[in-house]
Symmetry: C2
Subunit: 208 residues, 2 copies
DNA sequence: TAGCTCACAATACAAACGTATAGAGTGCTG
DNA sequence: CAGCACTCTATACGTTTGTATTGTGAGCTA
């Protein structure tokens, strides 16, 4: 399946994609309707025709990203496809711009991104609690684990620069993924996820 | 030593503090000169009298934070004072607004914050390399470690909300600090730092 | 005391921005 | 073919923003 080229999309989709890219790059306040319109190849008026106000455009971006992430989590984790090369390939092609936006939304006060953060903390906490029934502070551990994981996304520009490779490129994702597995105590990642992630990374490595 | 109250500071210092708070809260672009002036209790004209342009004001904030962090790192880590209660108390009183600004600067494209990120990655990498002379990817590990650590600062609003406690309050800092020590493989923190951090946290816990 | 410097305020202005409004072009439907 | 609905552009308007300019008063100095 070929990647969908930007020109083949409807104007509405191009505007949404351009908005996500510019919101992510400069922040919601610094990105302008005129800039988004130009990037999408349309007039500023069309942006408001399709999305109303800037705030509504931002909400549309939020919903698009959140539904994407929830879908990929469902397919990948719940559906046990983390090791599937097609799944990995698909995610690596479509995810970067969405992750870029998500990282910005988290620091830009997006209610949707905050809800997703809380959601991730909750599932992680349940996960930790079911594995370890001691009276440890699972809430704090889940929170820190979530923040550390998303922190890499939020700081992806700095990570890419320090690595000398794009975090979302094949080599960057591999190195960062392996480093995460090395650094974090395996018991907190969950046996199953740990194994799937490791074999997935190894397959990815074998293909290069 | 009493905390210095905001009213006793010079107008220039009040402007800088207000700018750091508003830049941190809303981002550089969304924070306005007029808003900063009002928060500092001065006229907008005085802001430009002391700092010139908005960009120069931002640079002044950058330099202030970076020199503070470098100083505290020198006193705390290089000077082996991480376990000193007075040091801890002092940091916990003065650091929060500065950390808040640093977190924002990292995602707002501040050159100074980027330089500090690289600096931290470099010292961490040297640290890892001297402890473990294998051919492991120390650069990636150092980068990820740095990003995860700073990620908690960048996402501190979400962390505080998920925890139900302010990250920079006594309980929040304690819980997050302990969770970090639990989650990360001790060998990557360095024996010495690990011990100092643990005893420091225990002392802090004893005082509550 | 005349004059200079500096901290500070008030006003003015041009640019950029979000958005409201009006209209052009196209395709579908009765 | 008349008319409606929809996509898209162009223009205009009011607000906000950064910053330039000007003015004012206090303190220091010769």
């Amino acid at each position: 399946m070929r990647p969908i080229s930007e020109e083949d999309l409807t104007a509405r989709a191009r505007i949404r994609d351009a908005a996500m890219a510019l919101f992510a790059e400069r922040g919601v306040k610094a990105a302008t309707i005129r800039g988004i319109a130009e990037a999408a190849g349309v007039s500023p008026g069309l942006v408001q025709h399709h999305f109303g106000t800037k705030e509504e455009l931002r909400q549309a971006c939020d919903e698009y990203v959140l539904s994407y992430v929830r879908e990929q989590v469902a397919v990948g984790i719940t559906g046990h496809n983390l090791g599937d090369p097609e799944y990995i390939e698909n995610v690596h092609r479509s995810a970067p711009p969405l992750m870029h936006y998500l990282g910005r939304a988290l620091v830009d006060g997006s209610p949707g991104a905050a809800a997703m953060f809380d959601e991730l903390v909750n599932v992680t906490e349940q996960h930790l609690s079911s594995d370890d029934r001691s009276e440890a502070d699972h809430r704090a551990r889940a929170t820190v684990l979530t923040a550390m994981k998303l922190g890499i996304t939020v700081l992806h520009d700095h990570v890419s620069r320090a690595l000398g490779t794009d975090l979302y490129g094949p080599q960057g994702a591999l190195r960062v993924g392996k480093a995460q597995l090395d650094l974090i105590q395996p018991e907190f990642l969950g046996r199953e996820l740990f194994e799937q992630a490791r074999t997935g990374l190894e397959k990815l490595e074998g293909n290069r």
